[in-house]
Symmetry: C2
Subunit: 297 residues, 2 copies
């Protein structure tokens, strides 16, 4: 049994914290279930928006197990498992497979800068070999403005040539539609997922597979509507309106620090101020910022 | 018992690999002991040069234990324990303390970019609180060209005000002597250690504490001579000659990728080609590069 390439609207889920600054498992699983109820195809947990790289291996595995224990099907979870150390990435990926989750989103090793394409290919290859599980499906993660390690098209080509069944998709968070459409054109069958909500619609028109985004923590229903109906001429006005709401919410949440803003808005929606917490090095909005954010349209 | 602020010549030790790409513990401990025999004050293992962030938590703890098991005194080891996730940093730091190593070199969390000073202070503070051990001594690690998270002087000031006994030093690998001397002037008692061999001498003249460097994997004896005799007018010519050899070796090892070059040169010195291996995303020199490197003066 192999998982298909991921297609749809995935939420880069936020990770709530308890009073001690540890993952708040109950709030997390409630949020994941709400996201699915809102129409998300799946939950891309433990990504950049989820502060994944601020959590230990044990915390990450605990969050994945909590999501599954809450009744979410393994094929609706797309956990991030790529960390700086290749062998830790192997541990997280093997763990995901061990609990039935076969598709993961994988950052390249991100500590060293200016690494060669050869080095990136070698890292991903070594991970696939060490995981050694035919069920594994990997969504590459291109977010050079944070990882500082871009995924070059030649890297994708070499990985898909070597492991055609494994590298099924890429999340492109660089915000450059031309890069996404170029990948759609060059790599038939590769699921290209937009990392920014506003770009999903033009990417779908170019043959893309959907999106993994942060704003879906707030407006999943609208982005799912766009995904379901973008090609239907009779729904054009509704699609346009939904897209406009998504774009407006993304702008609203980008006025101050993005993750802190998203958490402040979820805190407002749920009525639970615990949601405002972030783990260092990220910090919560100041009260003045939060007041301004909540007063904004 | 508290460790004093680190002063002297520390080697940012390379980490050799075995045929499976795992840490080669025997070669590692032999190298550490050779470094101490060559005159290193101590071994700053598991830093950038040591590919630390390419190794899992378990591998890092195994390397530290191997060094201790080989008979190296805990106070001659300065392991790096700073990783992207605060809670993993806590695990590594607690482990070091548990085996008697009290002074560690600590990167800030390095996944997110553009984080605030407040966030960096919060991260280090949270780590100190969670470690909760009065013996802990931290050398901050400023290497913005790799970590992309600089350690601002105001961050140092706030951390030393809050934890005066803990934050005893800083390794500055940015290569800017003016930044190092400014820290010497602003923070009396803070051990400022140059991350680049050629800068140790001018830094010592300005009141610095020494160096943690990569080239000492090859020329520790010379850098130690500079450290011991820089202020002795009668040794001026010998100091100058030793410094020139250090500078020349650093230039030689910087012509191609630095860590790969250092490993190729250690392989040549030891006659053990196993030393040439690097862990992805870093890669070994090509044969052509290695031939050119070995042929160079």
């Amino acid at each position: 049994m192999t998982a298909p390439a991921p297609t749809g609207v995935f939420c880069a889920a936020l990770t709530p914290l308890d009073a001690e600054g540890n993952p708040h498992l109950q709030n997390f699983t409630a949020h994941c279930r709400w996201l699915l109820d809102e129409g998300c195809t799946g939950v891309a947990m433990l990504g950049t928006t989820g502060e994944a790289n601020s959590f230990s291996l044990a915390e990450r595995m605990g969050l994945l197990e909590a999501a599954l224990d809450s009744g979410i099907a393994p094929n609706r979870l797309l956990p991030g498992t790529g960390v700086a150390a290749l062998t830790d990435t192997v541990t997280l990926t093997k763990h995901a497979l061990s609990v039935g989750v076969t598709t993961v989103v994988m950052l390249p090793p991100f500590f060293y800068k200016g690494v060669s394409d050869e080095g990136v290919v070698a890292a991903y290859s070594e991970i696939v070999e060490r995981v050694g599980d035919d069920r594994l499906r990997v969504v590459l993660y291109h977010i050079p403005q944070v990882s500082a390690v871009p995924i070059a098209h030649d890297v994708i080509a070499r990985l898909r040539e070597r492991y055609p069944a494994v590298f099924v998709g890429i999340k492109d968070s660089a915000g450059d539609l031309a890069n996404m459409t170029a990948m759609v054109a060059r790599f038939p069958g590769l699921a290209v997922l937009a990392g920014a909500d506003p770009l999903m619609l033009p990417l779908l028109r170019a043959g893309g597979a959907g999106a993994i985004t942060a704003t879906t923590n707030l407006v999943a229903r609208d982005l799912r509507f766009v995904f379901d109906h973008w090609a239907d001429p009779e729904k054009a006005a509704e699609v346009e309106a939904a897209q406009a709401r998504v774009v407006a919410m993304r702008e609203r949440a980008s006025r101050f620090a993005q993750m802190a803003s998203l958490k402040a808005l979820v805190a407002e929606r749920t009525g639970d101020p615990a949601w405002r917490r972030l783990r260092p090095p990220l910090v919560a909005l100041t009260e003045a910022e939060r007041t301004q954010l909540l007063a904004s349209a």
